[in-house]
């Protein structure tokens, strides 16, 4: 247990912070810790967490994805047309939405791997493309998602918020198995040193493509889940999610230079970020001061994460970071 904690130091501290913030939130909430309050909180957190997972897969292979929000907007708009009707139609719609997400991720991956464009600029350009497509589908917000399905996804099962169950399912059914496969290991190898990975005979191009495709998959899921929460399609949701997803992965201990961090950490980071926002809402601070305090806490949290620089004995070590 102690070894486990030591090797997952970043994630462990993120979870401690999250637990503290959550108790503070539930304590300060006027209604208190009811299922209703937990469900709303968890839904908001899961949207950002899915966006952060999408960002994680780009960052882990030393990339960055500025199109996360745009893919969410596009898939949200597709969902507002297709996730409605009979059961089969809805199932088909969900498949199309997720396939669209994977397609967007693959396009990013192709531009990065074969087009040799730096991820930050490639995804900047594709973001414009995806938002354009989303606007083509929904010039103004509208459309509808099947209410029964949306309710099933955003309420609770026996008092447990569905969003939390899904978060746990993603960690246990996707992340834990993936981490044990060659691909999971490859993600870290490519992120740590692409050259070393290549020279060890790893299929670097395939791993990067797969990573971006998985990023697209989660961005698609994020758009889909956003649709369940809002039950409408809106092409303008992107920009906030892109930037917050980056902040979330960093808060969760994922290094932007690649190769360090876990999906669980990214999820924790997203939950922390959203909980801070929710805390603000009931904190009694003047509403006008809240954006400033939020920014201050974000900067502070990141600065604390970087504070171990002060413990470095040899100044040269700082440059490897």
């Amino acid at each position: 247990m102690r070894d486990f904690l030591r090797s997952n130091k970043r994630e462990a501290s993120a979870f401690v912070v999250l637990a503290g913030l959550l108790s503070l939130y539930l304590w300060s909430h006027p209604i208190g810790p009811t299922t209703y309050v937990m469900t709303i909180w968890a839904n908001q957190c899961l949207i950002l967490a899915l966006a952060a997972m999408a960002q994680f897969f780009a960052v882990i292979v030393r990339g960055i994805d500025l199109s996360v929000g745009a893919v969410m907007a596009l898939t949200n708009c597709i969902a507002s047309y297709m996730v409605i009707g009979s059961g089969i139609e809805m199932a088909f719609g969900v498949v199309v939405v997720i396939a669209a997400g994977i397609g967007c991720g693959l396009l990013n991956g192709l531009l990065v791997v074969y087009g040799r464009i730096q991820p930050i600029v490639a995804t900047l350009a594709t973001a414009s493309l995806f938002v354009g497509l989303a606007l083509l589908l929904r010039p103004t917000p509208g459309g509808q998602i099947d209410y029964d399905l949306a309710d099933a996804m955003t309420l609770d099962v026996l008092g447990m918020p569905t969003a939390l169950i899904m978060t746990a399912a993603i960690i246990l059914l996707i992340w834990v198995p993936l981490r044990r496969t060659g691909l999971g290991l490859g993600l870290y190898a490519v992120g740590s040193s692409e050259q070393a990975a290549f020279q060890s005979g790893m299929p670097v191009a395939k791993i990067k493509l797969a990573s971006f495709a998985m990023g697209g998959f989660f961005a698609g899921l994020a758009g889909l889940y956003f649709s369940f929460v809002t039950t409408t399609g809106d092409a303008g949701i992107g920009p906030n999610f892109t930037l917050n997803s980056i902040a979330a992965v960093v808060l969760g201990g994922v290094a932007l230079r690649g190769g360090i961090g876990t999906l669980t950490g990214a999820i924790a980071g997203a939950f922390i970020l959203k909980t801070i926002g929710a805390l603000m809402f009931f904190s009694g601070l003047p509403p006008l001061a809240q954006p400033f305090i939020e920014g201050l806490i974000l900067a502070g949290a990141i600065a604390i994460g970087g504070a171990d620089i002060l413990r470095i004995k040899n100044r040269l070590e700082a440059f490897g970071r």
Partner: protein
């Protein structure tokens, strides 16, 4: 490593200029007025806002960093200068522009502190600073459009014309020339690229890398603030989130101008070309009166095409 002589402009730098000419010629088939002097002069005027931002961004990107606080440095400078200019006190009105520039430099120093001293990735640190600036602005203005107006100097700088040439364009060029001299004639320019290539090696050769990083971010802050002053003069007011639409075009302009996003390699001439290209592209797309959706799609596709072209050229070389 391939060396590029600074004297001979490499083709990478010329690509955005070719692209701009192509846009003008192509656009003039559909809209003959594009070839008119008035239209082109107006484009130069509009380009100077983006140009000043991209100028600062080039410095930071040469370092191998990125500055995401551009939107609210711009917005903050605009709010500060318009509220000083709108105060009615002549002393404060005279202070409007210097105060805005000092504000930009201060934010730049804070950016530099996080990046150089705390060694936080610039992408996150400047993002957090941007969020805080937004917070300060909201706190100050109550979430409404700030009161105040541009001073006559600001309006003159942004909208006046001298012999048909917009003053804003002249301001942009003066800033660019000053920067070019600084980069070419002082050690600062060489240190900047050296850090972009390899910060550790630069530090080991005895360069005080933190001060270079501080200076670069501060200069970038001043450039963004100047962009804000001009934009406030142009609109004769400051408004919430006036800088947001500028962030991504700024980065796109720098990269299309042939500056490597990884740092170390790039040029101001290229950035000027990139700014002209992006401005013309945006303008022609809006002249064509196509929907927002198609404008976004075409914008994205053309930028991807330009970047792929760069890759192809580099492979051929």
């Amino acid at each position: 490593m391939k060396t590029t002589s600074p004297r001979v402009p490499s083709l990478d730098i010329l690509v955005p200029y070719f692209g701009s000419v192509l846009l003008i010629v192509g656009g003039s088939f559909f809209f003959p007025q594009i070839l008119g002097f008035a239209y082109l002069a107006q484009q130069l005027q509009i380009a100077s806002f983006l140009g000043l931002l991209a100028l600062g961004a080039t410095l930071v990107i040469l370092l191998g960093h990125i500055d995401l606080s551009v939107p609210w440095v711009l917005g903050g400078a605009a709010i500060l200068s318009t509220s000083l200019a709108g105060s009615g006190d002549p002393a404060l009105i005279a202070l409007a522009i210097p105060a805005a520039l000092i504000f930009g430099a201060l934010v730049g120093v804070i950016n530099g502190f996080g990046v150089a001293v705390l060694r936080i990735p610039s992408m996150v640190w400047t993002l957090a600073i941007n969020a805080m600036l937004l917070g300060v602005a909201v706190l100050n203005t109550g979430g409404f459009n700030p009161k105040g107006e541009a001073s006559t100097t600001m309006i003159w700088l942004a909208t006046a014309k001298l012999a048909g040439i917009p003053v804003a364009f002249a301001v942009w060029m003066v800033f660019t020339l000053a920067m070019a001299v600084l980069l070419k004639k002082s050690g600062f320019g060489r240190y900047l690229s050296a850090i972009g290539y390899n910060e550790k090696a630069t530090f080991l050769s005895g360069v005080s890398t933190p001060s270079v990083i501080f200076a670069a971010f501060a200069i970038a802050g001043v450039c963004s603030a100047m962009g804000g002053v001009l934009l406030a003069g142009y609109a004769n007011q400051a408004y919430q989130s006036m800088g947001d639409p500028f962030l991504l075009p700024t980065i796109a302009a720098v990269v299309i101008g042939g500056t490597s996003i990884l740092g170390g390699r790039g040029s101001l001439v290229g950035t000027v070309g990139g700014v002209l290209f992006i401005t013309l592209l945006t303008s022609i797309l809006s002249v064509m009166q196509i929907s927002d959706a198609w404008r976004n799609i075409i914008f994205g596709v053309i930028i991807i095409a330009m970047l792929l072209l760069q890759t192809l050229r580099r492979k051929a070389a």
